[in-house]
Symmetry: C2
Subunit: 374 residues, 2 copies
């Protein structure tokens, strides 16, 4: 008798990871309530998640408007539009929409990560400037970004489609309440500390985090956390001194980047090296003055994310990793308004090695990527 | 030497019916100008047309918002939502969007004409009532509806996909200016007439059209015409007497209907017969008092539409056909506000036969489906 003989058929039990994803997004992440006005931004490949979200929103008594957020449509418009129109768009209708909206759910899921590869940089920048009022109106809502697994994203991750689907649902469908409680302790330690130190074979970096407020990023607007999946505790360093390396490969502005080393003095990058993509890092650093300083230190806590997939939404939350961002700080971390300002926010990620440690005010927080009980 | 030997290869000349469709929609139909705020409603299967429309709008200096108009998403929401929410939706954000919009372009193109087949009638009706303010806000703009050819629509038409694509572009890409000028003469004759009579083997119907205003439906908002393709001259009869038959098969409320005969007395249907779908017609007639009276008489003029495809957007414009609608009249035809009122507007179509004639005040307008020079 073989194993397969044991299976005598079974009626479908109704379990559906897409439905569970939609419920997690609507209920845990966005805290949608009856009567809420919701905008759902649907990427080209996110149709199935949009259908599931529509059913959950209907059940919860919310009223939806679905916006089509297609990279191909965006590329066509941006390449055809004049720069002066992009910089000064007649976008009152989009602003009116978002200003009268309670919740914005962004369902990522492209069919081609390179869909906008041939939009000139100057066009992107003009659009980013002109689009700022819409972005601000969106950020004024209870917004959450998530991703539906597509073949294009599986390809970007170097994974088979079925394996990538499993990866995404392992990352998204978690016991968020339990993780939120665990991360609350880490937040408390960071909030009361003045100094955080990263030490590993090739790294020794000291960060000044005095009087900054960490975010317990538990994938819910109730925690100032706007990503699903999430799973990180992050704060905004005031300054940095020492050397840090980042081994996790990623795509920055369309270019491959790996094994970046940065040396900081008085909070500023004074030297950079990269195994690959040094020019991309140099371009980031040259954006403005704030791009040479740190906007974020984050510690990944999502045990469902076990490998990088070249998607920052997932990679930076990987348990056993730490990330630092060059550029803009999040307001939530900086109650006194002295956070770093910049047009960019570029995250770089390192896995914490066997002999590594994270210390707060000289006391151990992590050893070898695992939190230490205090 | 065979025919294929003649073809020595040719570089692509850039002609693209999807691009031409988008240009016709934006320039001829909607008359979009620089600075216009445009909402584009994108059906699931209309992605390629949306990309082309985005490029044309960018070129013309308009600012777009793309709304995802998916039958599957709509079905999921409608089946899950409570009736009281549908009747009284928290839809201020949708109304804010449309009230600050100049032009609405609806790009049809479903992937399944039966996508909403299992939405209960009561749910549809509750939604239609609750959705009325959004619909009104949309109808307050320069709106145009068109269709991108999909395999689902080809299937509904009983046609191969490539043949259906050719059919759609033959209907959409026409010399609209020339047709508008031709139809202007027909409008003039209808506007000055008191009586219109349809006569054929199985039909003899007299319509009172005194003091009504015909629409020269030339597929442009400049002519009060909101469909692309269009190609019809229509007015709103005051009354009707006699018998009329409709041979063109169609789907009414999800049911096949064919060979309908209606007998009118004093403007009201007093008898109906159908080769198929008599129950569907009876259900329409029983909707309300206005459903037993006519809201429209239309004469198809689009020579590109050479066969019915079970899509009212195309069928009613077929050259050589006449259609009558039970129910609501269009405001544009009724300057004195005495038009027929009803919750329904159901078009029925007949091909005009070899011995048929259309007469206005006793003078010939058409013989055998062809206009008569005067």
């Amino acid at each position: 008798m073989t194993d397969t003989d044991d299976f005598a058929g079974a009626p479908w039990d109704g379990s559906d990871p897409v439905r569970a994803h939609a419920e997690t997004l609507v209920d845990w992440s966005a805290r949608v309530e009856s009567g809420d006005r919701v905008v759902i931004r649907v990427a080209e490949g996110a149709h199935d998640l949009a259908v599931a979200v529509a059913a959950v929103l209907g059940d919860r008594g919310a009223t939806p408007v679905f916006v089509y957020d297609s990279g191909e449509v965006s590329r066509a418009y941006l390449r055809a539009a004049a720069a002066e129109r992009l910089a000064d768009p007649a976008d009152g209708h989009a602003i009116a929409l978002y200003e009268s909206t309670d919740v914005v759910l962004s369902l990522g899921g492209t069919r081609n990560v390179a869909a906008r590869a041939d939009v000139p940089d100057a066009t992107r920048q003009a659009h980013a400037r002109g689009n700022a009022p819409i972005r601000e109106a969106r950020l004024g809502t209870d917004w959450v970004s998530t991703v539906h697994p597509t073949r294009a994203l599986a390809q970007q991750a170097g994974m088979a489609y079925e394996a990538y689907q499993t990866f995404v649902y392992d990352a998204v469908l978690r016991d968020w309440q339990a993780l939120a409680e665990e991360m609350a302790g880490i937040k408390t330690r960071l909030d009361s500390a003045s100094e955080l130190r990263l030490v590993d074979e090739d790294t020794d970096l000291t960060l000044d985090i005095a009087d900054r407020v960490a975010v317990n990023s538990a994938a819910s607007v109730a925690y100032d956390s706007h990503n699903l999946p999430s799973g990180e505790v992050f704060t905004a360093p005031r300054s940095a001194d020492g050397v840090v390396t980042f081994d996790v490969p990623m795509t920055v502005e369309g270019r491959q980047v790996q094994d970046v080393t940065l040396r900081f003095e008085d909070g500023e990058v004074v030297e950079q090296l990269a195994g690959e993509g040094s020019e991309a890092i140099a371009a980031v650093l040259d954006t403005d003055n704030g791009a040479r300083r740190l906007g974020e230190l984050g510690i990944g806590t999502n045990e469902g994310i076990t490998r990088p997939t070249d998607s920052i939404l997932f990679d930076e939350k990987m348990a056993g990793t730490v990330h630092l961002a060059l550029g803009r700080a999040y307001d939530a971390c900086v109650p006194d308004g002295t956070g770093n300002e910049s047009a960019v926010h570029v995250d770089l990620i390192r896995r914490m090695g066997e002999g590594s440690r994270l210390e707060v005010d000289g006391e151990p927080l992590q050893r070898a990527g695992a939190f230490v009980e205090t």
